[in-house]
Subunit: 500 residues, 2 copies
């Protein structure tokens, strides 16, 4: 009998670890969709999730795992996938071993507690009420960031980004963001001027009954390739995509007055879900079988939402469905009119409602602030003013309360610092992937007009989804598109959609 190699032992440990992380993910989904809204239920849930986090941390952070990693890295019998799997295991190990289990458990509990409180505090614009909890979260995040930065040999803020988008450093982000920051003001000005010369689009009259919105959403999800034997659509305060590749759980929030916001939530989360669905089955519950970081995940949701499903081709297919399901007729349902609504640029206070032109401004604001908070260049006492000033400088707007200001996003309250850059990097990658896809297969766009997303689905599965974490991000982008991440493709996309 061949002895079990170090690598094979690691596969077993990481298999359990990822199954436990999935369990934790399900508990998060339940907390956001099904759980009674009481403090006691929330506390219990945070205990459960913290216990799971502690256990996961211990699986990674022990002498045996560490020895096995060293040993496996000396094996010379691993194939390409196994080597990538080992690389990803090491990456997880670095993040885990840099911090104590107590810190992780404390951070998990503090985040859960703060996030629950945020749900009500946001509505009441109660920044002073949430600040002590947020301060605890930030303190623990910083502690973790400093510890990890020492192992990774990077800045504390980079260590945070590295968790969501492995390998991401400021030397990559800064030039891209400053390029966009320079591009935006004039471009936005030009778009707004062009818009001013056009007539106003006709807004379809509300209300749109929620069950009809749900029916439309489900229909489009199916067309995109979502299988309801393999997942659910529910409602939560903040749309998200959870579950597992076999049991995808996406959520949205409906607004009776505006069916597009709920629908776009659905399309966005469906993009995330399709990525999960088509990850390599052979590598389920192994690190290399997981999605390639949060920027790539966001590229998939934005590719569906912003690239595919805001195209004229999509509207050619979707507009008749909308009319049928909402039982409406009239010029407001013409494709040109809907396209104009879809591509209206309207600088606003809320990131999740932002159009794709102003979206990067929201991200740059958050990137600068979280970077400054983690690096002790500002404190939470400064946050509301810095936010409000930043919003004014970037988009000429002033929040009317903290709910549409610095308390609008779940991320900081939930302990997800260093996450925001993924959104804009994802948006740029989405433009680049979609561009490469439609260039490589001229059927993609015409098929979308017919409600056939198959050619796009196949391109994404082959070039992105099925590769899991086999390649590091820059290599994945290059293999799929022939070049590195290139913000000029994103700018070209914006120019084509908004100025031509």
């Amino acid at each position: 009998m061949t002895p079990i190699t170090a690598y094979k032992k690691l596969e077993k440990y990481f298999g359990r670890l990822l199954a436990l992380r999935e369990a934790s993910g399900m508990l998060h989904w339940d907390a956001a969709t099904m759980m009674p809204k009481s403090d006691a239920a929330a506390t219990t849930r945070s205990d459960q999730i913290a216990a799971l986090g502690g256990v996961c941390h211990e699986i990674l952070n022990n002498t045996e795992t560490s020895d096995l990693l060293d040993e496996a890295e000396d094996q010379n019998n691993l194939d390409k996938w196994q080597l990538a799997n080992l690389r990803e295991m090491r990456h997880m190990w670095v993040h885990a071993s840099a911090v104590t289990g107590d810190l992780i458990e404390a951070l998990s509990k503090a985040s859960m507690k703060c996030e629950i409180k945020w749900r009500t505090a946001r509505t009441g614009s109660d920044y002073e009420g949430i600040k002590p909890l947020l301060s605890t979260v930030l303190q623990l995040v910083k502690e973790s960031a400093v510890a990890k930065s020492e192992v990774l040999g990077c800045s504390p803020y980079e260590a945070l980004m590295d968790e969501y988008t492995p390998g991401l450093r400021q030397e990559t982000v800064d030039p891209i963001f400053s390029d966009i920051e320079k591009f935006l003001p004039n471009f936005l000005q030009a778009v707004l001027e062009k818009q001013a010369t056009m007539g106003q689009p006709i807004i379809p009259k509300s209300p749109f009954p929620l069950d009809q919105q749900r029916t439309l959403g489900q229909l489009l999800m199916k067309a995109l390739g979502f299988d309801f034997n393999q997942g659910r659509l529910d409602v939560s305060l903040h749309p998200f995509s959870g579950g597992t590749p076999d049991d995808l759980r996406i959520t949205t929030r409906y607004n009776e007055d505006d069916f597009l916001s709920g629908l776009m939530g659905i399309l966005h989360e469906t993009g995330h879900a399709l990525y999960e669905k088509n990850l390599p089955k052979k590598w389920r519950h192994q690190p290399v079988g997981e999605a390639r970081g949060m920027d790539m995940h966001e590229s998939q949701s934005l590719l569906i939402e912003m690239q595919a499903c805001r195209s004229r081709e999509f509207l050619t297919y979707a507009a008749p469905l909308m009319k049928k399901i909402f039982k409406r007729e009239g010029p407001e349902w013409e494709i040109d009119n809907l396209y104009q609504i879809y591509s209206t640029v309207n600088p606003g206070l809320i990131r999740v409602d932002a159009d794709e032109v102003t979206y990067p401004a929201h991200i740059i604001l958050r990137y600068n602030i979280e970077h400054a908070l983690i690096s002790d260049k500002m404190t939470l006492n400064d946050l509301p003013n810095v936010w409000n000033d930043g919003m004014f400088n970037l988009l000429g707007l002033k929040p009317t309360d903290h709910g549409n200001g610095c308390m609008q996003d779940i991320h900081w309250f939930d302990g997800a610092w260093g996450y925001f850059p993924s959104y804009s990097l994802g948006a740029m990658a989405a433009a680049q992937f979609f561009d490469a896809a439609v260039q490589s297969n001229s059927d993609i766009l015409p098929s979308i007009s017919l409600g056939n997303f198959g050619p796009l689905y196949d391109w994404l599965t082959k070039n992105i989804h099925s590769r899991g974490s086999l390649y590091e991000t820059p290599e994945l982008i290059k293999l799929a598109t022939g070049k590195q991440l290139d913000p000029s493709i994103f700018k070209r996309h914006l120019t084509q959609r908004y100025l031509t």
Copy 2:
């Protein structure tokens, strides 16, 4: 600084363990209520639950925990609750350390797989199709039973019962069951003869819309003390009670033609939920803070369902609600008529639909069979015939297929062997508790007629719920009722309800 004692360390470990078990419970709830019905989702879920089971097992089954238990048992500074907590920890440890983690993980996976398959196989009466999976489950259960029996110094079957009802042995069960077995035939005969002399009750006409059934159920749950800020009511194939004391998740199944079956499911599970709700808060996530075994749990569900909510007093309160919610009038809603429906004895094939007179026969059949299967006195090839013959001998009935025969219950397919006796022991304890309660407080019954369950709720909280696992079962029964478990009280209850 005082050094942390062994006992305090154990509290920390068991706190995590019980939080992880709760996580596993939530995943079970989700699988039964929310999860898409696909094999892949089920497999993934069973992987998650198995991973949790493996981790829980390792928390118990390691040298440190074992040493700490020895050390804590030598401490002389523990109070009554701490001592009981330690006793329960040791009980959990014995069950865990007797078997390997691999066996537990294998059993968890096999049970989950078998249970999922059972859901469809039962409908198709496909015993041959489920037999291989059931055989794997039984083999693993036996292996576990034998290992535990050696440590506990009891028979393998007793080792299984001990898991659900700590301390339960055949010397307790056998005389009680044989007492009932002797009592039943003549008693049943007498009840059926008496019934034959009475007119038939008028059955309210179906259909009963499901949303009205849900409304009625929720209203009665609230009256009983269930708080919807602290729990949910959902639908599953097999009614059950899950969740945590802060987040109670009960389920039922509705039948448009018979509102009583769904309602009784709700009332039964509410009884379970109230027990969980009122467990000692101070001891949350500690073994002593948990419910006292499955027989006591069943006593609480049956006390609500069979004792409190089949009384004339309950009907005095509930009948007007039923009329109002179902928008009905007529003589079928008279209390006497409903009481007659409620107390109709009708020997049938299905345990969960059985009246309380014939219910013990169903249990005795299962007790004898599972005991014989575990002791290798019969095999799964014999099961259908032994079942059918036993059913004929006990109740004079022959199953028409395996779905209403040996495949009707989830338990064996889900790995829960040795569980069935709890039902009838619970029924007897329920009669004894209710008898003691109404004798100690003459307000209990009159209050129920007014929809005020407060006095009963208070008695249960004080005498049962708030005691958690402080006392061993015989002591708990004695403290609450002044005597040991006494089947004559159950027989008296049956005689009063069905023959007077």
